[in-house]
């Protein structure tokens, strides 16, 4: 009777059950993890989809995904998601004078009223899919 040898992966390079141990085994820390690299605070981080062209100068295009960290405090120059007229809006925060600035000269600034504005979170990363069809099916 022939016993089939199955290959098993346990967080490392393939180890063949009936074979020799891989020489890489002791030197392998696991694959690169995009989650760890891109998300510092998972419980406070949300992914949003961008709609519109006002942020192209900051490398944020229509249809991109942005990572928004709600645990960060926004300061001058932060790219933020703010609530403007009951809508989520992505803009650059400017403090002097207080306003939300687009990263595209064709769009006007939004002044921040005296009683302030609600900042939903701070944008940390942009995911921009490239290539024909935008890289992945949406």
């Amino acid at each position: 009777m022939v016993v089939g040898v199955r290959s098993i992966t346990v967080e490392g390079p393939p180890v063949v059950a009936a074979g020799f141990p891989s020489p890489a085994e002791d030197h392998y820390d696991g694959p690169l993890r995009l989650d760890d690299h891109l998300v510092k605070n998972p419980s406070a981080t949300f992914v949003l989809r961008v709609s519109g062209h006002s942020m192209t100068g900051a490398g944020i295009a229509d249809g991109d995904e942005i990572l928004v960290d709600r645990s960060l405090t926004a300061s001058d120059g932060s790219i933020v998601v703010a609530v403007v007229e009951s809508e989520f809006t992505v803009k650059v925060l400017r403090t002097n004078p207080p306003r939300l600035q687009a990263a595209n000269r064709e769009y006007d600034d939004v002044p921040i009223p005296e009683d302030g504005i609600s900042i939903w979170g701070v944008v940390t990363t942009v995911i921009h899919h490239v290539g024909p069809g935008g890289g992945r099916a949406r």
Partner: protein, 424 residues
């Protein structure tokens, strides 16, 4: 001075609050979230309460509410609430590893007595800031008193209450004003029995002799008495015991009469429960199917049947469980009834790693493993309804599925339903 205290963290009208985090248009408005079948109100905001909406009120009554147009009604979006709940627990974990998830919107914590109020404020600020969810925090020497403190926190502007900081005589006065029906673990039946013994407040309950309570009631009520006296008897349950049984039972959105539909439904439910088994690393060796028609005055006597089938060996693969459920449903089905509830019950679960595999042929096992892996990888990306065996794979909603007519998007769990940030 005690070294450690209990804290309970409780999200204010959780489901409605979550919806408001993701939709600024409904902030500050009366919001009601409806149950599974859009049947009745399960959560509402204070604004909705002010309009006279009550928890448990059926939707058909509210349709004619005089201020209906002002109220926002939403179907429940459990995927979203579950994700926010998991985030909340992760935040609590960053404060202390000693927490217990009590329900989707409540958790108990063990925190040092020193600076407990400041810790509670910090927790509140962190969950409020990071998740946008309003919480109240009750702190006390026992779980039962912490629940009392949480009720008090609700009335206070800072939304935090620490009973350990209140002097004992004042605590007595607080408990004397606290209705016994609102005490954690005291249900309507116990409330009625206690009323017969002229116990109407938490304070009165706390003054009863624990031995007498144990003899005349139960050990559980005796524990409540001691807990109200500030002696902790109910410890933190940090890891929930492994699941011994699992049930997937739903009221169907529309009654089903056709045999094929009954069988398809049972098969689909079995596949859902199989996925849940795999998430919990459990396996089932026995499948029960339950069909019920819930008859009415006009439709005659109801039918309520169930049957079970033992599997050759425990499994959590979709195919064998779906096959067993479908076979049982076919056997139980009787024509001429309107089926309104169908359930799958797995009464006796074992750990996944305890399955020996000696009764399954290698070929079948390979098929089941490959099929299960394929299903899991598709559903994790495209959602539960994207693929399945038989009718479960039909993308259009089967007629019996939840109505969920006004469900918000799965903002945090589906790439194709992300929250939109406008750049204009």
């Amino acid at each position: 001075m005690r070294d450690e205290l209990f804290a309970i963290v409780d999200v204010d009208s959780m489901y409605a609050s979550v919806e408001q985090v993701f939709d600024p248009r409904i902030r500050g408005r009366p919001v009601c979230v409806l149950s599974n079948n859009d049947g009745c109100v399960v959560t509402m905001t204070a604004e909705a309460k002010a309009l006279g909406v009550e928890r448990g009120q059926p939707w058909f009554q509210l349709r004619n509410h005089p201020r209906r147009a002002e109220i926002v009604f939403l179907s429940s979006n459990y995927g979203l609430y579950g994700d926010m709940s998991a985030r909340m627990l992760a935040i609590l974990q960053s404060v202390t590893p000693r927490w217990e998830a009590y329900s989707i919107d409540e958790a108990f914590l063990r925190i040092p007595a020193e600076g407990a109020t400041a810790t509670a404020v910090r927790i509140r600020e962190r969950i409020g800031g990071w998740l946008g969810l309003p919480v109240k925090v009750g702190v006390a020497p026992s779980k039962t008193l912490a629940k009392v403190a949480a009720k008090r926190a609700k009335q206070r502007t800072e939304r935090v209450d620490n009973l350990a900081e209140v002097e004992p005589r004042r605590v007595q006065a607080i408990l004397d004003e606290f209705p016994v029906a609102d005490v954690w673990g005291i249900g309507p039946r116990l409330t009625a029995r206690l009323a017969a013994h002229e116990v109407g407040s938490a304070g009165q309950l706390a003054r009863l002799d624990p031995g007498w309570v144990r003899r005349n009631y139960t050990v559980v009520v005796e524990r409540t008495v001691r807990e109200l006296r500030g002696i902790s008897c109910i410890p933190l349950e940090c890891s929930p015991p492994p699941r011994r049984q699992m049930v997937h039972c739903r009221a169907l959105g529309k009654p089903v009469t056709d045999e094929h539909e009954v069988v398809d439904t049972a098969s689909t439910f079995a596949q859902r429960i199989a996925a849940k088994l795999r998430r919990h690393h459990r396996a089932a060796g026995l499948v029960q199917v339950w069909l019920s028609s819930g008859g009415s005055y006009y439709s005659g006597a109801p039918i309520d049947v169930h049957g079970s089938q033992a599997l050759l060996e425990p499994t959590n693969a979709a195919r064998p469980l779906a096959l067993a459920a479908a076979r049982l449903a076919r056997r139980l089905y009787q024509p001429g009834y309107q089926y309104r509830r169908i359930g799958i019950i797995l009464p006796d679960l074992v750990a996944e790693h305890q399955v020996t595999g000696m009764w399954t042929t290698a070929k079948n096992r390979t098929i089941d493993e490959a099929l299960t892996a394929a299903i899991d990888s598709v559903t994790s990306r495209y959602g539960k309804a994207a693929i399945g065996l038989g009718r479960a794979g039909v993308r259009t909603r089967a007629e019996w599925e939840m109505k969920q007519q006004v469900r918000s998007p799965a903002y945090t769990t589906r790439w194709d339903e992300l929250l939109v940030a406008h750049a204009r």
